[in-house]
Amino acid sequence: METMAARPVPDHVPPHMIGAFNLFDAPGMPPTPNGDPQAATAIVHDGPPIFYSPTNTRDGRGTWVITRAKDQRRVLQDPETFSSHRAIFASALGEDWPMIPLELDPPEHGKFRSLLNPLLSPKRVMALETAVRERAAFLIDRIAAAGTSCDVMTDFAFPFAVNIFLRFLGLPDDRLDEFVDWANDLLHGDNRQRPAAARTIIAFIDDLAAQRRKQPVDDFMSFLVQSKVDDRLLNDMEIRGTGVLLFVAGLDTVAAAIGFDLNYLARNPQDQELLRRDPSRIVLAAEEMLRAYPTVQMIRVATKDIDFEGAPIRKGDYVSCATMIANRDPEEFAEPNRIDLAREDNRHTAFAYGPHRCLGSHLARREIVVGLEQWLKRIPTFRIKEGTAPVTYGGHVFGIENLILDWS
């Protein structure tokens, strides 16, 4: 983890509104054996609905932190006041271009969203289900044949999620390990690894786009280079911005979700048994685990001065809406820190609120449900392997580094 150079708190932030909590080095956030970083964020619900956290981004910037789910909805449903234009990926290279549609605001955002939505709609995802199930079964059978223990992250969660995603993009599986390394360097690397990975990914996407332009096939990049917005073909930067987003968005998040879920089930044998005995409960259970173990925070930039629940947000301020915080809001979830796999009323925000709702949410949900179904069907009662400890971490994207399970 790189060190964060703290910037001074802006003068307009009243001292009594500064809070000590952040997602990077508050208790439970740094890499922790047997940790539970999402649960550790729930501490903010003892405090006010909004506070200022002086170092709450990867590059050490301060953000306002919105703790209540209903206030996060207000922020994320109002892109005119709270903009997504941040160029996170490009800024690692000292450049300024948006990942699309993530870092565009309406009305531009809607044009690209409408182009991409049909590719990942709930009905389209149903057509991918057989391939998803076969892939999970193949990987898990291989694990079961090899012994009575494995590292879920490297042996199942990553190869599964990444394979499905590459299939969606129309990319070959034989470079899977390489792609996972790029994503790891980009999301979790140091100041040298991140720009290097970003450049590698850009070169790969640009090259693929050039190939598909010359000779289109039936895949995502061919679709993109032939697509139009406002009656014109997408330009090179738009193709790059979209390709890069889809490449990085699918690599890490589903694998992390499967890791957190199997970690929970390994530690809670009664719940594991419940789902094993009655797999029809998995759909609802997966929603509850999405609520309890989401992995991302949304950051918005204020486009104007606004007083928000008594806080003087000024134009240019960052506003953080962390999914794991909203999902532990006691005003919206009864006993939020209890995990109830049969929870019915569960309008969690694992995929965010507002126009930037995760484009891949329907595919992600199917992968998680099918992954858990196949795992429980093919692997007997499992636990954390004695002498090992999964290392969890908070930060920009929450995750779990290793998960050694044992079913001997």
């Binding site: 909805r73 939505n117 049909p118 709930p122 309008r347």
Partner: protein
């Protein structure tokens, strides 16, 4: 019972459709079709659950 559809608030989570696909119809992008929904008496419980599943609060129940 009637479901008032606030189409402009729909962001395509499709939780209503997951709950009751026969009541909540989606367009090709996966967002709710415009227009309020008249619910048959036998579908009321399911429609209620579907409307209550919307993370954006785009579906309003009118008794």
């Amino acid at each position: 019972m009637k479901i008032i559809v606030h189409k402009e608030k729909c962001q395509g989570h499709a939780r209503c459709w997951a709950m009751a696909p026969q009541i909540f119809d989606l367009d090709d992008e996966g967002y709710i079709m415009p227009g309020d929904i008249d619910v048959a008496e036998e579908d009321e419980r399911l429609a209620w659950k579907g409307a209550k599943s919307c993370p954006e609060r785009a579906l309003e129940i009118q008794q």
